[in-house]
Every structure is written in structure tokens, then in C-alpha cells.
Symmetry: C2
Subunit: 273 residues, 2 copies
């Protein structure tokens, strides 16, 4: 691992119980790292991730849950693709949480989330997640305050269960400014091959930008335990965004330190005809 | 409802935070009610359950979870059959939790339980449940103490989530003595048509009777919140056992007070040719 890694990923981690003022937090990386160097470093992090993911799979005892949340057009899909594409798809499942189905609505809101949590040896990547229950549900008033307010505690309990039972958890908020979102949405309008990604409803969400920022700030303050930290990722320079996320995922796997299982046979005694 | 119901079901409910000494708790009903009268009363409770279950189903907003735990041969299967058989099976699902499958073992221990929780309008009856994780898992040492000890808190959190999101919960422990279990197991040996219910492994569980009693006592002390009470049912007189369980289930549904939905049409204005 290069000793001279150009930034400290931990600077982007939300401390347990500590809030984050998003308005005061840069959404664009402003350091000295350049794009070419970032690409070189990303390739290195991909190698680490690949090696560690294979060990996690071989060990078959623990799992990793990676959560992405962000405003529309912040780059969730693209980050997932860029960071996880090089991994063996047999051990990595990307789960997108859209509007709940009627079957899902017929259960508590964590039912569909729990079902899709990673099995031992696997990585699940959540593109949106249970946090929508205290984001869109709150901002759009889908449930009264009395209902969404207690969900922070449910979510903390749920993540505690997962962590206690062998799932490491890391959560990323892809931070962009309202101005940057405008650019990205406009691009979807301007390019016919991106029209499928544009949804006129995104504009009503955009109109509630400040409400969303407050809702995110509450999430960071209430749901950042040590075992399930949030990272606020400056996401407007995509090469920085991808590198930071990849680095944190690789570091999380490295901290888990998955072990290849001891062979149940002595390879020296086995002859293959 | 008869005003002169011959016992108070609430006498069998475990109070939040209060323990129960099973050795001091009768496993055989000793009151003045007789079997014939109990059958009459059970028929009445069945009518209440039927009516209330149909309303729960029609309302389609909330659900009921009924948990049964007991030592082997205490009569879990028979209680489930006797109490729930008269209900419309379209709205009642009985779930038996056996040894976990390999897919289930690949997830946290509540994963398979959460999956089978009732959907809105439905009743789920758990024959054994997540409580096995602090009963057999503890008594047989399938997990170290550090692991099973924190599961009481997980379970309380999980039941809180269900309760907050619209599931009423009621839990029954079918209480029998070690001597009564001997009789029932012997009957399984003596009757060829009951051999399929006998498992020689039941005898190793029986040998740990006292450990199980302590494990159950800890469950009652730690996991009896107001919204998910345990009832300790004297289970050696089956007609009393069935009546008490049916009465508590009917009362639980009555307290939920499910409402038929308002019609979205005016029946008076509709003519059917």
C-alpha cells in the first residue's frame, strides 16, 4: 500500500453522535490530487478490494453491507458501477430500493431490507436503502412525524443486530450542491440517450432541497454508530468520489481481515491420478 | 360475552420486567371450571375470534403475531390446531421453526423470522420462534454466552419495530411439569401412530430440564414488554389450556378493534341488472 496516500479517508467520516452541517461541507474536492494520479490509486484500491472480497467469500462467515444515499443525479448508479464493477459478481449483489411493491407495503418497512441483507461471504450494495424511511417519507409527509421519528431507533437497532451477527456496515452520502444537481439534470434533458434517467418528479424533490438537507443532517447525527459509520463524500469530482469510496470499502474489508479457511485435508498426502 | 367468565386471563400474564418462578407456578389448572363448561366457552371464544379475524382481514392495516414456546410434548401442535383451526385459513399462517436451513444459517438469526412475519390483515402463528435463539442455543451452547446474551436486546428491538409498525404480539409458554412430559413422551412410544412424533433427541433435551427452566425464566424477565406479553399457560389440562389461549387471542384482537373499511361507493345508488 502506498504510504503517501494523498488524503485521510477518516476526515470524511461522521463521528458518533456528532452532526454535520452540509452547507459548510465542501461538495467538491479541492485538494492537490489530480485525476490521473487518482486513477492510478483507484486501480490499486480495486486490487485490494478484489483480494479481500475473495477472502471474505472463501471464509464464508461474515458479510459487508454498503449503503448509498444521495439526492437525485448525485451519481449513485455511476459510483456503484465504478467502484464495484471489477469485483467478482458471484459475491457482490447490488440492490436498488425503488418505491415499495404492494407485497412490501404489506409488511413493516424493514422487512424488504432485511430480506436483501448479504449472506455470509457476500457483499450487498444498497442503492438507496432503509434511510429513505426517514428521508423521502419525512420530507414528503408520507407518514406523520410520530411514525418516522421512532424509525431512527429502529434503524439503529437493526444495524446493531446485523453488526453483532457478523455484517460490517459502511454508509456513503454522495454530497453535491443544488447548482451541481441542476447541471446534471440539465444534461439528462439535453442528451436523448439520458432521457430514460430523467423523471419530472425529480424537480419536485429538488424544490424541497433544504428539507432534504435537514433530513440528511438528522440521519448523520442520529445514525452514525462506530460499527455503521456514514461518510460524507464530496461527489462533484467523480474521480475523487470513486477513489474515496473504494478506499473506505477496501479499508473496511481490511479491518475485517477475512481468513482463508484451514484446509480439511493435507495437500501433501493427496495424489491426483 | 358472558359476564361470568370463570377466570381472569390476566392472572397468567407476565408483568414487564417481572420474573416468574416456574417451579412455583402451577402447570395444572386447579380451579372450579369443568371440561364441559370449558368447551362451551371455547366455542364462544372461537366465534369472537372468527368475527374479529374477518374484520382484521377486511381492514388490511394491521396484523397479529402469536408465538408458542414450550418443552417437547407440551402440546404446541395440538394447541395451534385446537385454537386456530376454526379460523379462515386464508388469513392465518402457521409457521413452524425447525433447525435452520443452510440458507437461513447464512444470515443473521432474525432473518428467517422477519421474512415470515404476518402481512397486514393476517395472523401468523409461530410454532417455536426466535426465542429458540436464547433457549436451545443457550442451553446446548451452540453459541458462546457473549453471543446469546445480546440477543434479548435484539429481540426486544425487533418486537418493538413490529409493534410500532402495526403488528400486535402475544406469546404463550405452555407450562408442564417434568413428570407430565414423561407421560406424554411415553404415550408417543406406546402408540405406533404417534411414533413419528417421537425423537430420541428429545431425551437429551429432557435431561437438561432445569437449564431450560432457567432459560425460560430469563426470557420472561427480559422480554415481556407491555406490547408483547408472555402468558404462562398451565398446560396439563388441555381444555383449560385451549380456552385460556383462545380467550387471550380473542381479547388481543378485540383490543386492536379492527374496523371494516368505509365503502368507496354508495350502495343505494348502485343497481345490479
Amino acid at each position: 500500500m502506498p504510504n503517501d496516500f494523498p488524503f485521510n479517508p477518516d476526515d470524511y467520516r461522521v463521528r458518533p453522535g456528532k452532526g454535520v452541517k452540509l452547507a459548510d461541507t465542501p461538495s467538491r474536492y479541492g485538494g492537490t490530487l489530480d485525476k490521473d494520479h487518482a486513477h492510478t490509486l483507484l486501480a490499486f484500491e480495486h486490487q485490494r478490494m478484489n483480494d479481500l472480497q475473495e477472502r471474505l467469500y472463501a471464509e464464508g462467515k461474515r458479510s459487508l453491507l454498503v449503503v448509498f444515499q444521495a439526492m437525485d443525479a448525485a451519481g449513485k448508479d455511476s459510483t456503484v458501477r465504478k467502484v464495484f464493477a471489477p469485483l467478482n459478481a458471484a459475491g457482490v449483489q447490488v440492490m436498488s430500493f425503488k418505491a415499495p411493491t404492494s407485497q412490501e407495503l404489506a409488511h413493516d418497512y424493514l422487512w424488504r431490507v432485511h430480506k436483501r441483507c448479504p449472506s455470509r461471504g457476500h457483499i450487498s450494495v444498497f442503492n438507496r436503502s432503509h434511510y429513505e424511511e426517514v428521508l423521502i417519507v419525512r420530507v414528503k409527509g408520507f407518514q406523520p412525524k410520530a411514525v418516522w421519528k421512532r424509525r431512527y431507533e429502529h434503524i439503529n437497532c437493526f444495524e446493531q443486530l446485523l453488526a453483532d451477527e457478523g455484517t460490517a456496515i459502511v454508509k456513503f452520502y454522495l454530497h453535491i450542491s443544488k447548482g451541481y444537481q441542476k447541471e446534471r439534470l440539465q444534461r439528462r434533458l439535453d442528451r436523448p440517450d439520458k432521457h430514460w434517467k430523467f423523471n419530472p418528479d425529480d424537480l419536485t424533490e429538488r424544490a424541497r432541497w433544504d428539507d432534504y438537507m435537514h433530513a440528511f443532517e438528522d440521519v448523520f447525527e442520529k445514525c452514525s454508530p462506530k460499527h455503521a459509520p456514514w461518510y460524507v463524500v464530496p461527489a462533484e469530482r467523480r474521480w475523487f468520489r470513486d477513489l474515496l469510496v473504494a478506499r473506505v470499502v477496501a479499508d473496511t474489508l481490511a479491518t475485517m481481515d477475512p481468513q482463508l479457511p484451514e484446509p480439511t485435508f493435507d495437500p501433501a498426502t493427496i495424489t491426483i491420478d
